[in-house]
Every structure is written in structure tokens, then in C-alpha cells.
């Protein structure tokens, strides 16, 4: 019975990772909270995980902000390649 309620650290951190994407269920979050009561390591993992999530978010946003475009020469090469492939 107790085994069914308690989580291993491996399971707890999996739920923690899931909740970084807001995809952990209510029951999972409850079990995680209970796990924190006696596991300081997973609590620390969660704190660090939150921090890393904001790093990943920063990264994702900076990638989206950047304007990726080919250089003029690259565009010219691409044009020629397309021309060759189309009329071969």
C-alpha cells in the first residue's frame, strides 16, 4: 500500500520534468509534493530545474527573435542550383 503511494527519486524527478511543460496531472503533482516532505535532494532538483527551464525559455525566445536569412551569395548559389535541377 505504502509502496503504491510513494515515489522513487527517479519517478519524482520525471514528474518534475513533466511539470516544467505543465503536463503533469493533479495526482502526480500531489505525489510529488508528498515526496518533497522527506526528500531534500529532489526538492533541490526541482529548484534547479525551474532555473534551467528559464534558461531554455530564454534560449528558445532568442532563437525566435533572430532573423535567419541566407546571404546574397548563398541566395545566388541556391538560385543556380535550383536552375540546374529544374532544367537538367
Amino acid at each position: 500500500m505504502l509502496k503504491k503511494l510513494t515515489l522513487t527519486c527517479n519517478e519524482a524527478t520525471t514528474i518534475c520534468d513533466k511539470s516544467q511543460y505543465n503536463e503533469a496531472t493533479f495526482l502526480e503533482k500531489m505525489r510529488l509534493t508528498v515526496h518533497f516532505l522527506y526528500c531534500k535532494l529532489c526538492k533541490r532538483y526541482t529548484k534547479q530545474n525551474l532555473l534551467l527551464s528559464s534558461c531554455y525559455r530564454n534560449k528558445s525566445e532568442s532563437i525566435k527573435r533572430e532573423n535567419y536569412a541566407l546571404t546574397t551569395e548563398e541566395k545566388e548559389t541556391l538560385k543556380q542550383a535550383l536552375h540546374k535541377q529544374t532544367y537538367k
Partner: protein, 155 residues
């Protein structure tokens, strides 16, 4: 790689230009083709067997099964380093840690976290279950945490 996919997209677009019905703009149409190409590229990586080493963070069996391995336990991080997250060096370190992951983990992690694909979409395209996806994300994130601890937060 990205450039190859762009070239492929234009080529496919030209080839099937007569199927283009003009119901959307050319840009939307070509972007849809490009998205397909990106997903196909990921599927190709996915079908290769993972070669890189997978680090385990938890005991696999025995009475400690599922507990933290002693040498992989999260350490306390330096509080001053936790503050400055909008930092170019940190982003570079993050990149190098992601590149150190086994290819398949890096791919799923990037799709989910950086490109923000839906769980369902990733599962469908890579033909994995949601359970599998979370195992991969979990392994990727625990390994990334350790890598960032060793190279950034613990100095």
C-alpha cells in the same frame, strides 16, 4: 543542414508548383513544406540507433532502485551564478551540453523545449509513446542538469 532543407523546400515547391492552388500565400505554402522537411529530417535521425553514451543518474536495481546515485546527487549551486541568466556565455555552455547528449535525446529535447512542438505531434511523427517521450526528456534533463552543474553553476 538547415540550408539543405531550405534548398529542398524550394525544389519541392517548384516541382509541385502546379498543385499550388493559391488558397494561401506562397510563403505559408512553402513554410508548410519546410516544416514537413524538418520533421522528416528528425525521423531519419530517430531511426538510427543511439550510439552515444547514456549516463545513468539513479540506481537501476537492488534495494536502492530509483534512488539518486551518490556521485550524481544534485549539488548546491552558487547563488551569484543563478542570477545572470541572460548571458551569452551561458547560452553557449547550454548548447555544448545539449550537443553532448546522445543524438536522439538532444533531438527530442530540442523539439519539445526549444521548438515547442506538442507532445502528441512529436509522438506521432517519431512513433513513440508519451511514456517514452517523458523517459527521454527526463534522461536528457537530468544529464543537462549535471552538465550545467559541472561547467557553470558549481564553479
Amino acid at each position: 543542414m538547415a540550408k539543405d532543407l531550405v534548398q529542398d523546400t524550394f525544389f519541392s515547391g517548384l516541382k509541385s508548383a502546379r498543385n499550388f492552388e493559391g488558397r494561401s500565400s506562397e510563403k505559408t505554402w512553402l513554410t508548410a513544406i519546410l516544416k514537413r522537411k524538418v520533421i522528416d529530417h528528425y525521423r531519419k535521425i530517430n531511426s538510427k540507433k543511439g550510439q552515444a553514451e547514456v549516463h545513468v543518474n539513479f540506481y537501476n536495481d537492488g534495494e536502492n532502485e530509483g534512488n539518486w546515485l551518490e556521485e550524481r546527487v544534485p549539488q548546491r549551486w552558487s547563488a551569484s551564478l543563478e542570477k545572470n541568466l541572460e548571458n551569452e556565455e551561458l547560452k553557449a555552455q547550454l548548447d555544448s551540453c545539449i550537443d553532448n547528449l546522445p543524438e536522439k535525446y538532444a533531438m527530442v529535447f530540442r523539439m519539445k523545449t526549444i521548438q515547442e512542438f506538442d507532445t502528441q505531434e512529436i509522438c506521432k511523427e517519431l512513433e513513440i509513446t508519451a511514456f517514452n517521450l517523458w523517459v527521454i526528456i527526463h534522461r536528457a534533463r537530468t544529464q543537462l542538469r549535471k552538465c550545467m552543474e559541472d561547467h557553470w553553476f558549481n564553479i
